[in-house]
Amino acid sequence: MSKFKKKKGGDLPAISTASLPDIVFMLLFFFMVATVMRDSTLMVINKLPAADQIQKLDKKDRVMYIYAGKPSSRYQDKYGSSARIQLNDKFASVDEVGAFILAERASKRQELQNVLTTALKVDSDTKMGLIQDIKQELRKVQALKINYTTRVGDYTQNLN
């Protein structure tokens, strides 16, 4: 007589799926939290020009964004329709760019402070004068690595 009797009847007990929803919800919450929609709401018209000789801008923590363009339609009453600079969530003038870059730089980790890139997201209908002023400000604060953010496309799309 063995102590370990074989069970009779080969009915496998069904694996309980009761914890499945918990697992899936866990994944769901992870993705909901990890999804970053957009850091700042755009207040300017931002149709980027097209270029095809482009390089990717990886590692978001190393990038500072400067937006420029005409204020979008609902801000035009208040701010007019000439091209403006947007830093974070508000319009700014050219001489605020330097302070913004210094503040952004100070908020980054020490080891990243020398490898930061400034991404210029500028609307394609802006005049170069404004961009020239921004570049001049960037040079003053030694933020020399810039990236003209563009969309992917042939350059001829810019010419009409």
Binding site: T17, A18, L20, P21, V24, F25, L27, L28, F31, M32, T35, P49, A50, A51, D52, Q53, I54, Q55, K56, L57, D58, K59, V63, T117, A119, K121, V122, D123, S124, D125, T126, K127, M128, G129, I131, Q132, K135, Q136, L138, R139, K140, Q142, A143, L144, K145, I146, N147, Y148, T149, T150, V152, Y155, T156, N158, L159
Partner: protein, 208 residues
């Protein structure tokens, strides 16, 4: 009548609902990466005595306020800009120490000596529109990339089977293994040294 307990709600379909949501979020999440033209601004401090550069080693590109292009003092179309820039950079007109063995250009004495000396000078007006400026920048970068691709393929094309731009992309990709990056880096640097990107931008003036 005996009190009937409320029937238990079947939770079996909970997983399906959750999966549905999960898949929705997975599909709609786009981890957007921006891309664009990388440039480096010149530092602020003025050079005390600027190096003397011979006129023939400078390729001037001027974008007027009406978005017209003036290349080497002649009106030009953006469509021709790339080939004009390639012809200038690849000219290799120098002799002796300044000769360029790998250049395939016309070796015109009135154009650039070698790619290391050749400088593209880009000037624009304050009224120039940004999109045209980007188009011009794009074509000038394209000229450099075309030449670098050619040399990269000539030197390493048989072992690697990719061109310069693809190699650079692979090198910049954080997912590329460090061994691969170690293989690519000297090759990229060598080709970059053959055709260094010397693109000077003057501060814009009120041009007429």
């Amino acid at each position: 009548m005996a009190k009937r307990s409320a029937p238990e709600v079947n939770a079996g379909s909970m997983a399906d609902i959750a999966f549905l949501l999960l898949i929705f979020f997975l599909v709609t999440t786009t981890i957007e990466t921006d891309s664009g033209l990388n440039r480096k601004l010149p530092p602020m401090e003025d050079q005390v005595d600027p190096p003397i550069i011979r006129e023939k080693n400078i390729f001037t590109v001027l974008v007027s306020k009406n978005d017209q292009l003036l290349v080497e003092e002649e009106l030009a179309d953006i469509a021709d800009l790339r080939s004009l820039a390639v012809a200038f950079l690849d000219n290799g007109g120098g002799v002796g120490d300044e000769a360029c063995e790998y250049c395939q250009g016309e070796r015109d004495e009135t154009s650039s000596d070698n790619p290391d000396k050749a400088i593209i000078s880009l000037k624009n007006d304050r009224e120039t529109s940004y999109k045209v400026y980007i188009a011009v920048q794009n074509e000038l970068v394209a000229a450099y990339n075309d030449l670098r691709n050619r040399e990269f393929e000539r030197l390493f094309g048989t072992d690697l089977g990719i061109n310069f731009v693809e190699a650079q992309k692979q090198y910049d990709d954080p997912r590329t293994s460090s061994e691969r990056q170690a293989i690519l880096k000297p090759k990229l640097d060598q080709v970059k040294a053959m055709y260094p990107q010397k693109l000077s931008e003057a501060e814009s003036t009120k041009l007429n």
